[in-house]
């Protein structure tokens, strides 16, 4: 082998290594940028969820407080305390709940047993442990309903006057609650709630509950518009949250296509005892990142011959499933480029490689229009 050949080989190897290094760096960079973006969006949504949650909590607490301080409730509490007969107030909770626009309301006697229940009138006489254990701070509780189902609710407890009679009222935390949250396009949210998952055995006589984890039920994962598509794909994510009681993130692929995959984060919603009452799922589409990784977007060949060589090498070495991202600052710079042939060559390569040439100003919007702009500068390449 002649020196010339050796030099050429060395040069080629150097170029190839450099290209591989740059490609890897670009991919890592893109992934990193998108991950940060996803985290920021998730954090933003979670903070919005918490704000709304706090707001609803305050509303529920205020409504229960209003009912408890009403003359009607005080009179009822006085009569029950005096006579010890709560039977005449069997339907009282229903009318009180209607007045206060609460979905759930129960009147609980001094003995901890239900006097009247708006959501399940037949439950009178059964104990309601939540009324005794809870503080004035709103809390999450799953509520059994007459049709055998359960509903997750945001509850508050308030004593009526100075008596030991308490009101426990709440609102349902379901898809209508999610519908009120501002959700960015490309983001999917869901709430997985079913107390049967966590408390299978409820002793109606003593009120004692025995926690146990039951099988994942995709029908329990509801979004703002009803059932979440391909909810079964979230099984591992939700099971992970239920077992660890901590936030878990993973990639979910509902259709099997990479561009439809989602970056999902599951956040546990717990009660005061730390039991997971529901799981909030926030999933952000990865289509932008996948598109960015699958398409060579731009080549900046305006600067040095070295960079032009890189650009050419990117396209030459491009293989299906191993795409490169090539970045330039501004598309029209091609026209101003001194080496017209070089420009044509690069453009031809781009077209042959199913690539697009975009100006830097368009780049973030095309890649992902609704998130912080991931910018990769030509100089970084």
């Amino acid at each position: 082998m002649s020196l010339r050949q050796k030099l050429l080989l060395l040069f080629s190897l150097t170029v190839a290594a450099a290209v591989a290094a740059v490609a890897w760096t670009v991919l890592v960079r893109i992934r990193h940028v998108f991950e940060i973006s996803n985290q920021e969006e998730t954090a933003l949504f979670v903070s919005q969820f918490q704000r709304e949650f706090q707001h609803r909590s305050q509303e529920v607490a205020a409504a229960v407080n209003r009912v408890a301080s009403s003359e009607r409730a005080r009179s009822m509490a006085f009569e029950v305390a005096q006579s010890g007969d709560a039977a005449p107030y069997l339907t009282e909770a229903q009318s009180m709940a209607q007045d206060a626009q609460l979905e759930f309301l129960e009147i609980v006697g001094a003995d901890g047993k239900i006097v009247s229940s708006a959501q399940w009138p037949a439950r009178f006489g059964y104990p309601e442990p939540a009324a005794a254990n809870a503080t004035t701070k709103p809390f999450l509780k799953s509520e059994d309903l007459p049709d055998g189902s359960t509903a997750l609710g945001l509850f508050a407890v308030q004593a009526v006057g100075t008596t030991e009679i308490r009101l426990i009222g709440g609102e349902r935390l379901d898809q209508s609650f999610l519908a009120d949250l501002p959700v960015a396009p490309g983001m999917q949210i869901g709430l997985y709630s079913d107390t049967n998952i966590f408390t299978t055995t409820v002793n109606l006589k003593t009120g004692a509950t025995t926690p146990a984890v039951m099988a994942f039920d995709p029908a329990r994962l509801l979004g703002p518009n009803g059932a979440v598509p391909a909810a079964g794909q979230y099984k591992n994510l939700i099971d992970g949250v239920l077992s660890s009681r901590q936030q878990v993130s993973s990639i979910v692929n509902p259709t099997g296509r990479r561009e439809d995959s989602l970056n999902a984060t599951a956040i546990p919603l717990t009660n005061e005892q730390g039991d997971v009452m529901a799981v909030l799922v926030v999933a952000i589409s990865r289509s932008g990142m996948v598109e960015a990784q699958q398409h060579s977007l731009l080549i900046d060949v305006r600067d040095s011959p070295c960079e032009r060589q890189f650009a050419r090498a990117f396209d030459v070495q491009r293989r299906p499933g191993n795409p490169f991202l090539v970045v330039r600052a501004c598309k029209h710079l091609f026209c101003n480029h001194a080496m017209w042939n070089e420009r044509r060559h690069v453009q031809d390569l781009l077209v042959n490689a199913d690539c697009k040439a975009l100006p830097g100003s368009e780049f973030p919007g095309k890649v992902h229009p609704f998130r912080p702009k991931p910018v990769v500068y030509a100089n970084d390449v």
């Binding site: 005449p88 009178f124 109606l204």
Partner: protein, 446 residues
């Protein structure tokens, strides 16, 4: 002397005025409001008569039949029709019309095998003895209505022989006018309007402003009605709230039915849902009728229920109840009780679940004769049985045999009550707890 005469005259005048005030007046229109369909038991009793009738104390009295006799050990009954009775359209009551009406009214669980007209008598024959036939014929199911008019047409409105005839009938309003030629004599009021499907609170409101004269008071609302100082007429227990349990499917297992019977908490239903009105019942007939109701335990035994169920996990069952909110609530409570005993029950409206595994129903408790009352009740529950018991021991045995099957679980004996307005006078209750409006008169509007 003159002074004494003046005082005596004054007292006589006052007495005359008082007597005049208590004398019933003819005329006027009586308004009644009910929560159910207006063509209910009360209205049917005003328009139609049976061959026999129960008086206020539940004793069987002649009605369209003037007398009756049985032979062949109660296998054959002969009822002689009252003479001079006409239907509202003027056609005379005869045995053929009665037989036609009974054949239409009678369903598969008919007490008799055959009924035929012979002259002015109606003859019932049965394969088994029918000791309680006169009492059974007093029931709502066997009221005589004209099935064909003189020109062979089917009447648009019910035509009977009762003190009132139907003028107009719709789903919400029934208008009745007095039958001038009623065999019982003309009723006092000229017209009765029965407004149906009216909520209870609206009825009471109408009563308070004089828009109605008689309003319904369900047992669970009695306490509230008393607090509102309504004038109330309350009957003895005339209905049995009972849980009918199917003996097919998974409930063909008698042990499961027994577990259900043990799991139901009657006291909660009585104390809270029905507001302590009526009485808790574990027997089919009340203590006042048989004297042996106390022998049937009414207490709940959840441990025994769980023990009886053993390791069996029955599939989900359906419990049907009327659409009435109180009945639905009682059904929900029973479902909750049974859930504790390991049964999974879904409550449904009776209209939507005709073949439910369990049904919560109100059954009639009528008649002074316990055997007849028991047979009437069992027939209403769909049991085609004949009760011939004439003493307490055999009656207890008959009741025990039925209850031992666990297909009928008694829960409560319930009264009926009505709120009466200031205009209506001489309102009395029938044996079935409905007001007898044939003898009601109205205070003079002047």
């Amino acid at each position: 002397m003159l002074r004494r005469f003046a005082i005596s005259l004054f007292l006589v005048l006052v007495g005359t005025c008082a007597w005049g005030r208590t004398r019933p007046h003819y005329g006027g229109s009586l308004h009644v409001e009910v929560a159910s369909d207006p063509w209910n038991g009360m209205a049917r009793r005003l328009v139609l008569d049976g061959l026999t009738a129960l008086d206020a104390s539940g004793v069987v009295r002649p009605a369209l039949a003037s007398d009756w006799q049985s032979d062949s050990a109660d296998h054959r009954w002969q009822f002689r029709l009252r003479q001079g009775v006409n239907f509202h359209d003027g056609s005379p009551l005869n045995a053929t019309a009665v037989v036609m009406a009974l054949n239409i009214a009678c369903n598969a669980s008919c007490p008799w095998t055959a009924v035929r007209a012979v002259g002015s008598t109606v003859i019932f024959t049965g394969d088994s003895p029918m000791p309680n036939l006169p009492a059974l014929l007093a029931g709502d199911a066997y009221l005589i209505t004209l099935t064909r008019t003189a020109d062979g047409q089917t009447p648009a409105n019910p035509i009977g022989t009762g003190p009132f005839q139907v003028t107009s009938l719709s789903s919400a309003l029934l208008t009745l006018t007095a039958n001038e030629s009623c065999w019982r004599g003309r009723p006092f009021v000229d017209e009765i309007t029965i407004t149906g499907n009216r909520p209870i609170r609206d009825q009471w409101l109408d009563l308070s402003v004089g828009r109605t004269d008689i309003a319904e008071v369900p047992p669970q609302e009695l306490r509230q009605a008393q607090l509102q100082h309504l004038t109330l007429l309350i009957s003895q227990p005339v209905e049995l709230l009972a849980l009918e349990v199917s003996d097919t499917g998974v409930l063909a297992n008698a042990v499961l039915r027994a577990a259900i019977a043990q799991a139901v908490d009657r006291s909660a239903i009585f104390n809270v849902i029905f507001q302590k009105q009526g009485e808790v019942a574990a027997s089919l007939l009340p203590q006042s009728r048989t004297g042996c109701a106390f022998l049937f335990p009414a207490d709940r035994d959840l441990n025994k229920a769980n023990e009886l169920r053993g390791g069996l996990t029955p599939p989900p069952l359906t419990l049907a109840a009327d659409g009435d909110p109180t009945m639905q609530l009682a059904a929900q409570r029973i479902a909750l009780n049974l859930r504790e005993a390991g049964f999974n029950l879904q409550v449904a409206n009776a209209h939507n679940a005709p073949h439910a595994d369990l049904a919560l129903r109100k059954l009639p408790l009528q008649g002074a004769d316990p055997a007849a009352a028991l047979e009437t009740l069992l027939r209403a529950a769909g049991e085609n049985v004949s009760v011939a018991s004439r003493n307490s021991t055999s009656l207890y045995r008959a009741e025990h045999d039925v209850l031992d099957l666990k297909t009928l679980i008694p829960l409560l004996d319930l009264p009926r009550a009505w709120a009466i307005g200031s205009r209506a006078r001489d309102v009395r209750l029938r044996a079935d707890g409905t007001p007898d409006l044939a003898d009601v008169s109205l205070e003079s509007t002047q």
